[in-house]
Symmetry: C2
Subunit: 282 residues, 2 copies
């Protein structure tokens, strides 16, 4: 595996491959890799001749400084995992390499970045759009892979690609879960033993809500039940639970073939998100 910390040598390296008509797959990550990330790498390896993984904890997308400071950083372990996974190129730049300017452009996605995650993490998606634009322009991938866990992020990156005409295909890879249903997340590392036991509550809530909604129960009643389900566990706090259209995340009153359930909340100080398609899959 080739490792690059700087943009220009990476570009020069990738240029050779582009001239050989290879297909380049990009897997953007913030490191602290888990099986969810490795599923992205695997998907990219199946569909491309060269897979580039980026590891960069992007300050511009953290609305909460403490969350940034506590974000797990495990580059040595990550590098070993990537080598073992068959990843071809690792790009792990410094902040100085990624941000030459102090102030940077902000993006406004309209309604899409004001709701759900956007409401609770102001500025987050602008920072995501900025770093993803950078990575797309640095790597010029043919395909880019994002996890379904960050569902709203995926829709946002889709809009970024459409509106700015990035010449690439975007791939959404299903959520990878622990045996008890907890969605894989780098933040799970920070959970205490008790918190780890409580954390699957969000996925259980999604599954329970899906069943209730499909059996015809009213959304308001379902929301109340989910709220209670979370309150029952000390240290668990629900932030939002929403039924939405999976094309545009517009909030819905009832289930359609296009529906998705999204949830976010805290276990102790750790913020977790999850989602579950209710309508037809994909």
């Amino acid at each position: 595996m080739e490792i690059f910390k700087e943009i220009e040598p990476l570009r020069a390296y990738l240029k050779q491959f582009r001239q050989l008509k290879s297909s380049i797959g990009l897997v953007p990550t913030m490191g602290a890799l888990h099986a969810g990330h490795l599923a992205l790498i695997e998907a990219s390896r199946k569909e491309n001749t060269l897979t580039v993984c980026s590891i960069y904890v992007n300050p511009a997308q953290f609305n909460n400084l403490q969350d940034l400071e506590k974000y797990p950083q495990t580059l040595e372990r990550d590098t070993a995992l990537l080598k073992a996974s068959g990843c071809d190129v690792l790009f792990c730049p410094s902040h100085h390499e990624m941000y030459k300017n102090q102030d940077h452009i902000r993006f406004d996605f309209g309604a899409l970045d004001k709701i759900l995650e956007g409401e609770y993490r102001p500025g987050h998606f602008s920072g995501v759009a900025l770093v993803v634009s950078k990575l797309f322009n640095i790597v010029l991938p043919n395909k880019a892979y994002f996890g379904q866990k960050d569902f709203q992020q995926f829709l946002l990156v889709k809009k970024l690609v459409e509106d700015l005409n990035f010449d690439l295909e975007l791939k959404r890879v299903p959520i990878v879960r622990e045996a008890d249903g907890l969605a894989m997340s780098s933040r799970n590392m920070r959970l205490s033993t008790q918190q780890r036991k409580d954390a699957p509550v969000f996925y259980q809530a999604l599954q329970h809500a899906k069943k209730m909604l499909l059996s015809g129960k009213d959304l308001k009643a379902v929301q109340n039940e989910i709220q209670l389900m979370c309150e029952r566990k000390p240290g668990v706090r629900l932030e939002y639970f929403a039924l939405a259209d999976k094309e545009n995340l517009k909030l819905a009153e009832s289930v359609t073939g296009q529906s998705i359930l999204l949830i976010a909340g805290y276990v102790g100080e750790i913020r977790l998100i999850d989602n579950l398609v209710v309508g037809d899959e994909n």
Copy 2:
């Protein structure tokens, strides 16, 4: 000259050249071509093996609907001029080809898009950034050419390239002027005979102001004099006249080696802009 109205055939065509290690130059325009545009084409031809000119009157950058409707459209004449100039590729897409989504991402450049042109044309620079991002991602040029007349636009595109890591070199080409000093502009076509006679007042004002400032006159006094100079001509209305730092357009009180004068105003209903470096050139 090859002419493309659609993105994918253009991309396919350019891909061959990219594989031959050619250098591609892009000249983005809104058509109604004049000698200023042709200077951009010439600069690109000198430095690249392939020159692509785009002609697209981008609705997203017009804050004034009337200005958009009256913007001169002379595609047949433009095509002939481009052929004669040795341009290799013309890209002239439809609105449908450029904007698939109804709502689109907005860009915020901080102070840089709030002052001068940004103050008088709200939303203008966001629209410019959007279409320029699209064109960069469609053409993937090695170099892109912009005229110095739109000085603030040049700085903004420079920030766009830096912040989003577009892999290209940005070139600023000097203003081309009519014999009487009027900066070339597609909007000049719309001037009546009398208005055309009055229009050089803005360039005269810039020259006069430069002399006064370099001879030590106070900025406030110079501004008053420029205001009077414009008022003396019926139908001429000054919008702004500013001394600024040419790296970031921060307003200045006195001349430095970094100074530029910028002016904007109306002759009748036609809005014109111009600028003049006061400090060291370039």
